[in-house]
């Protein structure tokens, strides 16, 4: 087990190192001088100002020098200064990350609750209910996030005024008022995905030999479902849920932009447009890291649920 963990952590470090070089390099390759965004409107440029921005942010240093400066900073917990926002990246992230985490957490809860319930109910009840559950979840998977976002904001934010159509609040009531619509929009297509997988796995377990045997031995149906069907189906369901939640960290940018939420996804989009290297680098790495960590956790839990996975590994 510890060996399994160790290889995973080593893998994470290697992935982050490779990703950081790749992202840093690609941003440097992008043409253009981001300093011109700061010199101001239609006034004649102050050459001293452009030169001082270049000096302050070391824009003219070679790649290796800049990367090394950045890396030593990061290892000390400092993501460096943001050129476009004239602020430290740490501060920019600190102001925004709780919004993104709350949003992703809220959406994850919705995905798990609705997706698994819908899928299980569909598989167990069968017939017309199953057909419609399948149709709904297939439809949900097909709707782009920005479309459902605009629709939800209009219906529940503007027409019905149940929730705020944009912005972000604080505390539990703030999260409920401001983040419910974005969380639903973010969860929407993943709900369909999780529901489909849940339905298929539960179905497969229902048809398996040990369930038929249990049924034939007259064990009460609810007990069979709980102990044999759901327990055995939980592996694939958990795996796909993990992927869904990891995927949220990437798609959150779309929802944050659409609902005017100040999170790190929206910041990533803006910073990339302004070629704000330090900010893009920091957020990209956070997203890569959370993706890898979540996937590792999924593997780990899957292994705990089904020891065969662990034993089957050559490592």
């Amino acid at each position: 087990m510890s060996r399994f963990l160790l290889t995973r952590v080593a893998g994470l470090v290697i992935i982050l190192a490779v990703a950081s070089v790749a992202i840093y390099g690609s941003m440097l390759l992008a043409p253009g001088d981001p300093a011109t965004l700061l010199v101001g409107g239609g006034k004649p440029p102050n050459p001293e100002l452009i030169a001082s921005i270049h000096r302050e942010y070391h824009l003219d240093d070679p790649f290796a020098v800049r990367y090394w400066r950045w890396l030593t900073g990061v290892l000390q917990g400092d993501f460096g200064p943001s050129l476009a926002y004239r602020d430290s990246v740490n501060h920019l992230l600190a102001e925004r990350i709780s919004n993104t985490l709350t949003l992703v957490g809220y959406a994850s809860a919705i995905i798990l609750l609705v997706g698994i319930t819908l899928g299980t109910a569909g598989a167990l009840r069968g017939g017309r209910f199953e057909t419609s559950a399948t149709a709904i979840s297939a439809g949900a998977m097909a709707v782009p996030t920005f479309v459902i976002g605009a629709l939800l904001a209009y219906v529940f934010g503007v027409r019905l005024s149940w929730f705020a159509p944009s912005g972000s609040g604080s505390g539990i009531s703030g999260a409920f008022r401001y983040l419910t619509l974005p969380a639903v929009a973010l969860a929407f297509s993943w709900i369909g995905y999780v529901a489909q997988i849940t339905r298929t796995s539960v179905r497969a377990e229902l048809r398996s030999e040990h369930v038929e045997t249990a049924d034939s031995r007259g064990i009460p149906r609810p007990g069979v479902i709980r102990r044999h069907v759901l327990r055995n189906a939980s592996g694939p369901i958990f795996a796909v849920s993990g992927i869904a939640i990891a995927g949220l960290t990437a798609t959150t940018a779309v929802v944050e932009k659409a609902f005017g939420i100040s999170g790190i996804g929206a910041l990533l989009v803006d910073a990339a447009a302004k070629q704000d290297l330090a900010t893009v680098q920091a957020i990209s790495l956070i997203m890569v890291a959370s993706f890898v960590v979540l996937n590792t956790l999924v593997d780990l839990v899957t292994a705990l649920l089904d020891p065969r996975v662990l034993k089957g590994r050559p490592s």
Partner: protein, 550 residues
């Protein structure tokens, strides 16, 4: 940095009257026909009710700074104008008057004496002195401070205190423009002790501000909001804030802004995207307002190597550019065609407005579409290359639509126009980095003019080395006339010199003026009183807003 025009502006200029927006507040902008009836106004109906809080949007996103020496864009200026008073005060109709300086004199053409008001205190209660003013102006002048306005001080030789409440500016040569600059953020006064201590953090999230304006900076939550609160000790009885606080949000997405305005979550916004203006049409929540503006859309020749540096070709493009179709379809009727890049709103409140008007009226009219004449010009010019690249900011719908019209017109006269969409940084580079313009023939630019004086803008286009003069245009006579106009302190004589220069460069300078959009603003029905005109960008506009009781 740019312009606008329209005959309806004349009445406002001549009478100085402030029309209310009742006529256009509820009007529809959705068809060209109805839009014809919209007259851009100067200010919205006054309202005096007390308000706890106003939530206002900045559609261009979060400001990167609020330091008066560094603001030069929509979002920063919109906020900063409420915080830091300037030495002179700009009015919604583009006239100007005393601000922190109660009077000024020019004992000789190279000296400007500013007499400061004695009753001004900063937000912390300390009195404003001549030292603060000298320090603020010197920061604007000093390249090392990171100021973006240094070039505007080219003729200034010294800035010095000449009394406890008096500052004397001396010039190496007379400069009629400088005084007017003091009505913008260039003339804003910050407290010397505070700004010195804050250093390069002054005006940033970390450093804060110390000014004298009707609102004080309360908090700036990066990415979330900026909150400004009422200054209870404000000196100007005519601009006492009626709202206790104003919270600025940074919604840049048009759809999100529509929802926020319709639900009442956001009370108002300047620079509302046209799609949002359409979405909120007929809403019971609030009213749309259209104001006079000094904004404009211009096609700039990007290189002296381009075939378009030949004026016959830009004239040909101008002749096939269907401006009425563009104004109707791209701007929903809410713009006027431009015959020059300096729109009348810039000079309409000048003492010399009659002179400027004569010069403006004498310019050739906006050309009607004339393909035959355009073809003839192309044949005469016989360009070495007929495939031309025009640059536009990626994702900007309005620019893309305008260029699609231009492309269609160009095709009729045998010019193949290729539209190149450029990312934000690349597009910004076009303006400041010469190599960034390699391979580009033409670029579309949305700009605005802040200072109510044509000389704040014209040289950038037509003087050698001007910020937007990349076509290599140079006419010694024009340059001389513009320099003379700026050195002439008598307004009418200066205007006459400008008119001569304008007549000359309009006939020879390769550029295509497209349209001047009106200012688009939305306010929830519970508030009113804000300026409708684009002059808001240098006015403490939030202090004018009051509750309507609705």
């Amino acid at each position: 940095m740019r312009t606008s025009t329209r005959h309806c502006l004349v009445s406002i200029a001549a009478g100085g009257l402030l029309a209310t927006t009742a006529a256009c507040g509820g009007a529809s902008a959705d068809s060209g026909k109805e839009a014809d009836r919209i007259t851009p106004t100067v200010i919205t109906s006054a309202a005096s009710g007390k308000l706890d809080e106003i939530t206002w949007n900045l559609p261009m996103g979060e400001p990167t700074t609020l330091d008066p020496a560094k603001v030069g864009d929509y979002s920063p200026s919109t906020v900063e104008a409420n915080l830091c008073d300037s030495l002179l005060r700009l009015k919604p109709d583009y006239s100007y008057g005393p601000g922190l300086a109660k009077s000024w004199t020019a004992p000789d053409p190279r000296t400007l004496i500013l007499n400061l008001r004695p009753d001004i205190t900063f937000w912390d209660g300390k009195p404003m002195t001549a030292d603060d003013v000298v320090h603020s102006l010197t920061r604007q002048q000093d390249p090392k401070s990171g100021s973006i306005s240094t070039a505007l001080f080219a003729n200034v030789s010294s800035i010095a205190k000449s009394g406890p409440l008096q500052v004397t500016v001396r010039f190496s040569k007379p400069d009629e423009l400088f005084l007017k600059l003091l009505s913008t953020e260039v003339g804003a006064v910050s407290q010397k002790a505070y700004a010195t201590k804050a250093g390069k953090n002054y005006g940033q999230v970390a450093g804060g501000l110390m000014c004298t304006g009707p609102f004080k900076l309360d908090s700036w939550k990066s990415g979330q909001s900026i909150t400004i609160t009422r200054n209870p000790a404000y000196w100007d009885p005519t601009l006492q804030p009626k709202a206790d606080k104003v919270v600025f949000k940074f919604i840049t997405d048009g759809n999100t802004l529509s929802s926020a305005l319709l639900s009442g979550q956001i009370d108002g916004s300047y620079e509302v995207p046209l799609q949002t203006m359409r979405a909120v049409a007929g809403s019971q929540t609030g009213n749309r307002h259209y104001g006079i503006a000094t904004q404009s859309v211009t096609l700039l020749v990007a290189s002296d190597k381009s075939p378009l540096a030949d004026k016959r070709l830009t004239d040909a493009l101008s002749l096939v550019l269907d401006r009425s179709a563009i104004i109707k379809n791209v701007f929903g009727g809410l713009a006027s065609a431009e015959k020059t890049f300096i729109p009348p709103a810039v000079w309409q409140s000048s003492q010399a407005h009659k002179t400027y008007r004569q010069g403006f009226d004498a310019l050739p009219d906006v050309p009607a579409v004339d393909v035959a004449a355009a073809k003839k010009l192309v044949a005469e010019a016989d360009p070495a290359r007929r495939t031309l690249v025009v640059a536009t900011p990626a994702g900007d719908q309005m620019s893309m639509q305008i260029l699609t019209f231009l492309q269609a017109g160009a095709k009729e006269i045998g010019l193949d126009l290729q539209i190149k969409q450029m990312q934000m940084v690349d597009y910004s580079n076009l303006f400041y980095v010469p190599t960034g313009r390699a391979g580009i023939d033409l670029m579309i630019a949305f700009g605005y003019i802040e200072v109510p004086d044509p000389l704040s803008y014209a040289p950038a286009f037509v003087a050698p080395g001007g910020l937007f003069n990349w076509s290599g245009y140079s006419d010694p006579q024009v340059t001389k006339l513009l320099e003379e106009a700026q050195s002439t302190l008598d307004p009418v004589r200066s205007a006459k010199l400008f008119n001569q220069a304008q007549a000359r460069y309009t006939a020879t300078h390769p550029v295509v003026s497209v349209a001047a959009p009106y200012e688009r603003m939305f306010m929830n029905k519970r508030i009113s009183g804000a300026p409708a005109s684009f002059a808001y960008i240098n006015i403490p506009w939030a202090a004018m807003i009051g509750g309507t009781g609705r």
